[in-house]
């Protein structure tokens, strides 16, 4: 049984324009790929031109987007990695999540250690963190 995912966004003309620019495509280039007139694409980006499913799916295919890109999450590679880590964390059992929190606390303490000469806190071995 699937859980309900709330809808995130409507595809609108302004988003199509952003995506096109993100792909460094001119209106002429994109309209050629989709198979509509450039003037119609221009109207589409302004929200005046509505099209059938066949054309809409061509638009989405041309952009060949990752879902995050579509939603305008112009995230850096670091941000994407962070999102992935959070997602992985949420999939862990509560025990495993606690261990990860402990490890994060430990790493923060390690970072705050003012004098390396005084010795680093012991790094937990792999067994303890897994």
């Amino acid at each position: 049984m699937s859980s309900h995912t709330p809808r995130k966004v409507y595809l609108v003309g302004s988003r199509i324009r952003e995506l096109r620019k993100g792909r460094r495509l001119t209106q002429t280039e994109l309209s050629d790929k989709i198979g509509i007139a450039q003037s119609d694409l221009s109207r589409m980006e302004q929200g005046e031109y509505k099209v059938g499913l066949d054309t809409l799916f061509k638009v989405l295919q041309v952009f060949d987007l990752k879902m995050g890109e579509f939603f305008g999450e112009t995230e850096s590679p670091d941000a994407a990695e962070t999102r992935k880590l959070i997602s992985n964390f949420q999939e862990l059992s509560s025990d495993a999540q606690r261990e990860v929190r402990d490890f994060v606390r430990f790493k923060k303490l390690q970072k705050q250690e003012p004098n390396p000469a005084s010795g680093s806190p012991a790094v937990p071995n792999e067994e303890e963190t897994s």
Binding site: S2, R7, V9, L11, G13, L56, F57, L60
Partner: protein, 300 residues
């Protein structure tokens, strides 16, 4: 009217009723019979008329195995007659079916001006309806609305016998209003159209009104209604082999189910839709999270 003409007129009338009932194969057989008879009797006018009617039926069947240039010959050798105007109208439909919208517009305009000259209200109305559909294709909803409005007025002025054409134009007008978010204007028109078509047994023409009601219901978040209309539209689309209706119905049903939170039902519709787009395997995953309702045109 002589007996031969009466017989052929009867064939035309019966074929037309078969078309409205969705029995295109029967209509085609009747038109083929009429065409053979007209040829054997060397009645050029009726041969031309049956050629036009037969081509119309083939277009309805999504078939292009007829001679388009023959229609243009009819227009050229009978430019001032009803048959010439009809040939132009059918040629416009043929070009529209081929996606040649510029040519379709030219022949539709020709049919309109000739039918106006002849004072033929039905052909004037159907030509206006076709021109309006061409406007809709290009997403010019206001222009289409005005043409549909005039088409409805022309067709309704012709009285009861032509109310099927009027009902189709009325539904189209209703769709324009719905697309322009004027539900209070659009919904009564679509319901009226559906009621007329139902009373006339024109089931084949009821798919788009149902689709339009599904579309409006999704827009207004009346999701149970959307489901009901969508299922009925889908059934008719499958029954009469209307791929455009089937695809739009799958999409709108998926939208409705998704908004209801019935994700597994929505997935069924997405999967059914994805069958038509084998080159786009990610379709379902996109549509689970992206709504196309703001950019979709059911008549494009």
């Amino acid at each position: 009217m002589n007996e031969r003409r009466k017989h052929l007129e009867f064939l035309r009338k019966t074929a037309r009723e078969a078309i409205w009932a969705g029995d295109y194969e029967r209509a085609l057989t009747l038109y083929d019979d009429g065409l053979s008879l007209a040829r054997s009797w060397k009645d050029r006018d009726l041969e031309d008329l049956f050629t036009c009617n037969r081509a119309t039926t083939l277009i309805e069947l999504d078939r292009q195995d007829f001679d388009l240039s023959r229609l243009k010959e009819i227009l050229l050798h009978s430019p001032s007659s009803y048959t010439g105007a009809l040939a132009s109208y059918v040629a416009a439909n043929a070009h529209e079916a081929r996606g040649e919208y510029g040519r379709a517009r030219f022949y539709a305009q020709t049919a309109l001006s000739k039918s106006r000259e002849l004072g033929h209200e039905e052909l004037t109305g159907t030509s206006l309806n076709l021109l309006a559909n061409l406007e809709l294709h290009e997403s010019r909803f206001e222009a289409a609305r005005d043409l549909f409005q005039e088409a409805v007025e022309r067709l309704e002025s012709e009285g009861e016998s032509l109310s099927r054409h009027a009902a189709v134009a009325t539904d189209n007008l209703g769709y324009c209003h719905i697309a322009l978010d004027r539900m209070e204007l659009g919904l009564p028109l679509v319901h009226r159209s559906l009621s007329v078509l139902d009373s006339l047994g024109a089931r084949q023409a009821m798919d788009y009104p149902m689709l339009d009601l599904c579309f409006a219901s999704v827009k207004m978040s009346l999701l149970d209604e959307a489901e009901s209309w969508g299922i009925r539209a889908l059934g008719l689309g499958k029954e009469f082999g209307r791929e455009d209706v089937v695809k739009n119905a799958h999409y709108l049903l998926a939208e409705a189910y998704s908004e209801m939170g019935r994700d597994s039902k929505a997935d069924e519709q997405y999967e059914a839709l994805a069958v038509y787009y084998p080159d786009f395997p990610a379709l379902k995953h996109y549509l689970r999270q992206i709504s196309l309702m703001e950019v979709i045109n059911l008549r494009a």
